[in-house]
Structures are given as C-alpha cells and as structure tokens.
C-alpha cells in the first residue's frame, strides 16, 4: 500500500508526459467553425464583375458548392488558385468571395489567372467575411444544396488534401442532393 502511494507521483508524472507529448503534435491553428450545421448567412453583395446583378445567399441554393474566400493580397491564395481551376474544370461548383480586396485588382487576377468561380461575390468591407467567421484567407466552406454549411476548410487546398479528404466530403454532398 505504502509503496503504491510512493509510486503515485511517478504515475502522475508519466500521465502528464503522455498529454504533453500529444500536445507537441496537435495542430492548434485549426479552429472548429462555429458555423458548421448552420445556414449560410444572408447577404446581398455586388459581383466582382462590372455590370452583373448583385448576389444573395439564394443564389447558392439548388446544388452543393464550395465557397472559397480569397483575396489578391493573400499569397497562399495564389498557390491555391491553379488547384481551384483544375477542380472547376472537373465540374466542381466553386463560388468565390473576394474578401477585403480592391475590385480592380481582383478583376485583373481573374482575367490573368483564369476564373474558376461560378459566382463572384465582392466583399470589400469584409461584412460577409465577418458573418462567416473568416479570420484569414483562403478559407473554403462546403455548402449543401439547401444552403447549409457542412464543413469548413482553413488554408490552401492542394491536390493531396483534396484527394485524401475533401473530394469525399464534396461527393457526399453531391450524392445527398440526388433524389
């Protein structure tokens, strides 16, 4: 009994070690989005392209889509852009939210680097970004056909992460939408 008690501090220390060791490999940067499971927030914002009608949350309904928050000042978005182009060519529905950006620069970006987006939402004040809980770019929301946010991915979508994880999530939403 007494010996067991003496071992207690060692046991506690080892237990702490386990937690600390795990902590070394935890990815703290990823926050669970507060919006998963909620409806895409209501908005009415102009299109990035001149002369197009304003976009609202109603335009997202009917088919599952990825809503990609991007900006020309975001270096990582430039890395992500070719991947989005490729996905769009494969038939993935992607909408863009141009977040706190200069509209002229955004148009030039879309002209020069190709435009993978079906809807181009312009959010120069970051108002939609605030309602979406965006704190950096790029961030990508997976929205189902009923306009409910089902998943949020923070960071650059590359081919590896798309194939290993995200493609399955998108396909599940597509399958769900089929009657």
């Amino acid at each position: 009994m007494k010996r067991a008690l003496l071992m207690l501090p060692l046991a506690l220390f080892l237990l702490m070690l386990v937690f600390l060791f795990r902590g070394l490999y935890l990815d703290n940067d990823e926050l669970p989005s507060a919006l998963v499971g909620k409806r895409f927030p209501a908005f009415t914002l102009p299109s990035v392209e001149a002369g197009e009608a304003p976009v609202t949350e109603q335009d997202l309904l009917g088919q599952p889509s990825l809503v990609n928050v991007w900006a020309t000042w975001c270096v990582a978005c430039r890395v992500e852009h070719p991947v989005l182009n490729k996905l769009a060519a494969e038939g993935v529905v992607i909408h863009g939210v141009n977040y706190k950006d200069d509209t002229e620069a955004a148009r030039k970006w879309l002209r020069d680097l190709h435009d993978p987006y079906q809807l181009n939402i312009s959010d120069p004040e970051g108002l939609l970004g605030l309602d979406l809980g965006v704190y950096g770019a790029p961030e990508t929301f997976f929205v189902d056909a009923d306009g409910v946010i089902r998943y949020k991915f923070i960071g650059v979508i590359d081919e590896r992460i798309w194939e290993s994880d995200l493609a399955g999530r998108y396909q599940a939403l597509v399958d769900e939408a089929q009657p």
Partner: protein, 158 residues
C-alpha cells in the same frame, strides 16, 4: 521633485501605448470602459495568444470596429460576446462559458487544491500523532537495546 513626477507620469503613458491604437470617440466614460473590457476579454482568432485589444492584425481591427459599432447601438456585453461566439466559436472567449466540455477547466484547479490540502492535513495529523505518542515506543525492545549500545559506543569514542 515636480520634474521627477512628470517623468514618472510620462513613463506610465508610454506603457499603455503598447496596445493597438484606434481613434474611437465614445459617448461616455462607461462606454469606453466597456469597449476596453470587451476587447480585452475576446481573443483574436488569427493571433491566438493575444486579445483583440492588443493585436494589430486586420481581423482584430475589424472586430474592434464591430464592438464599437454594437456599443453605439446600445447592445449589452452579453449580446456582443454572443455575436462573436456565433461567428468564431467558443474559442474567442478568454473565459470559457461553463459547459460540460469546459467543466474540467473550471473545476480541476479547485479539485487539485483540495486534494493537496487533504494530503497535507493527513500527513500533518500522522506526524503529530507520532510526536505525541513519543516516537520511541515504536522501537521494539531489541531495537532499544541496539540503540543503547550504539550510543554507549559513541560515548566511549568521544
């Protein structure tokens, strides 16, 4: 003396200048106090170990602007915090709300303290008991004998 005081005052001012600088005009001192309270209670989502009062990141700037806007609209502190939690999750609170998930955070320190206190009391009691009963009683007759002979040996050597 006056000069010294002025110098000291100047040092205080430069200390507070480490916080991010905004130019908001408040209707009242009470509103200003609430602004500082809220922006120091909420965590910046981008730079995770700073509150939004101290951070200069664009998102912290935006959130300060939102707090200011909501204060002007006469919203309560709870409403403002809820607004942030709805968008950025529980994470933005430096003081997490008390839920089943966070109960450990809230109560573990008190539990540890209590366990420590009990252990301390237990040990002190035991020591006191040993002291009261004289301690030597715990030695058997044989041990007593040995102790005596050891002491005698020591005396002879001295």
């Amino acid at each position: 003396m006056k000069l010294l005081m002025a110098l000291f005052a100047a040092m205080l001012i430069s200390l507070s200048a480490t916080a991010a600088i905004d130019t908001y005009e408040f209707d009242s001192e009470e509103q200003r106090a609430r602004f500082y309270y809220l922006s120091s209670e909420l965590r910046c989502p981008k730079c995770q170990n700073q509150n939004i009062a101290d951070s200069n990141s664009p998102i912290a700037n935006d959130l300060r602007r939102e707090i200011y806007r909501m204060l002007q609209e006469d919203r309560s502190n709870d409403q403002i915090v809820d607004f942030m939690v709805e968008r950025y999750g529980e994470f933005v609170r430096y003081r997490p709300a008390l839920t089943a998930q966070t109960a450990v955070l809230w109560f573990a320190p008190a539990v540890f303290l209590l366990v420590g206190l009990f252990a301390l009391i237990f040990m002190l009691r035991r020591r006191q008991k040993a002291y009261k009963t004289g301690g030597t009683e715990q030695l058997s007759a044989e041990e007593q004998q040995r102790l005596k002979s050891l002491l005698e040996k020591k005396d002879r050597n001295d």
